[in-house]
């Protein structure tokens, strides 16, 4: 892993039509950003209140821990307020903030020793937690039985590496090339890991009692 300490400099905000569509400008946000750049404390509070839930939810999903998620939310906003001059308006402000947050979380996880390239190997040294390759029975299709609550629960049971790619792509809307840059891996690796994450989620959703413990799926093969 080689991109420690690069943060937003390594990944300058880029226009992303998909994300911009999901992050429409918020009324009053531009004025608050301008005022915050001039040190207005009320503007800081307004920006925080507009974005705290989204940033915290992202941290919580990626880290799976309330205390760490709160610390990382605090870090993200402090970094934001200290580096606000670097926001050049080339993407939606919230897109820029999410990218900054993701980079901070990834740095944090790397400091903890999580290798985000060799995702499943680093998180689960044995091959037993890798999704099964069989297609499964067609009489148990998920359509109609999955909602955000059941998916959120299954997501929490995913190994951290799989969870990371799934959140970045399927929830946050980042493209594979962006994820590859963030995780310092190939685009093919990002696609492959996303697919494995979805397969693992499928297993978890089809078998709600399935434990995330390796012994839960002895038939799995790499």
């Amino acid at each position: 892993m080689s991109c420690q300490g690069q943060m937003t400099q390594a990944l300058p905000p880029r226009a992303n039509p998909g994300l911009y569509k999901r992050n429409p400008p918020i009324p009053g946000e531009a004025e608050a950003i301008e005022s915050a750049r001039n040190g207005d404390p009320e503007a800081f509070a307004k920006i925080y209140n507009l974005h705290k839930r989204r940033v915290y939810t992202l941290c919580l999903r990626m880290l799976g821990n309330v205390s760490e998620a709160e610390d990382m939310t605090q870090n993200a906003f402090l970094h934001l307020f200290r580096k606000l001059d670097r926001f050049r308006g080339e993407s939606a402000f919230s897109t820029w903030l999410h990218r900054l947050t993701v980079n901070l979380v990834l740095m944090h996880l790397r400091k903890k020793g999580l290798d985000l390239v060799s995702l499943e190997e680093s998180v689960n040294p044995s091959s037993e937690d890798t999704p099964r390759r069989d297609f499964g029975s067609r009489d148990q299709v998920l359509a109609g039985s999955v909602d955000r609550v059941t998916l959120e629960r299954a997501l929490a049971a995913l190994p951290p590496g799989y969870r990371m790619v799934f959140i970045l792509h399927d929830v946050e809307g980042f493209e594979h090339n962006e994820i590859a840059a963030m995780l310092d891996c190939s685009i093919g690796n990002s696609k492959s890991q996303l697919h494995k994450a979805r397969l693992r989620l499928r297993e978890l959703l089809r078998n709600p009692g399935l434990s995330p413990q390796p012994s839960a799926c002895p038939e799995s093969a790499k």
Binding site: K52, R53, F77, L142, V146, D147, R148, E152, V171
Partner: protein, 105 residues
């Protein structure tokens, strides 16, 4: 990873399909079930069709998770405020700094 354009979709086998599935999802809008090249194959392989349906359901439901569900405690904002005030105080000290070695006017 094999690119979908190298594949003979008319004679696709389930193992090949499984191999190219990540790329099929990554291209276009991710609606593999509506890919006309796969219509015949999916009709002939209902387990593969079920897999595609499930993975599409998961991806679609994931989009609903984009809206935030949780809120940080008040402690987070209090800490941020305190740190920002520290920053301001330190900046003010820097502004007032007088070099003791500078010649007096």
């Amino acid at each position: 990873m094999t690119t979908p354009r190298n594949i003979d979709f008319d004679n696709l086998k389930p193992e090949e399909f499984e191999h190219i599935l990540p790329d099929l999802f990554a291209t276009g809008d991710g609606k593999v079930s509506q890919d006309p090249r796969l219509k015949k194959f999916l009709a002939a392989n209902p387990n593969c069709a079920a897999l595609v349906s499930d993975l599409e359901t998961i991806a679609e439901t994931a989009r609903s998770l984009f809206e935030p569900v949780a809120e940080p405690s008040d402690r987070v904002w209090q800490n941020i405020q305190a740190k920002l005030q520290e920053d301001t105080a330190l900046a003010s000290i820097d502004d007032d700094y007088i070099d003791p070695d500078a010649p007096l006017d």
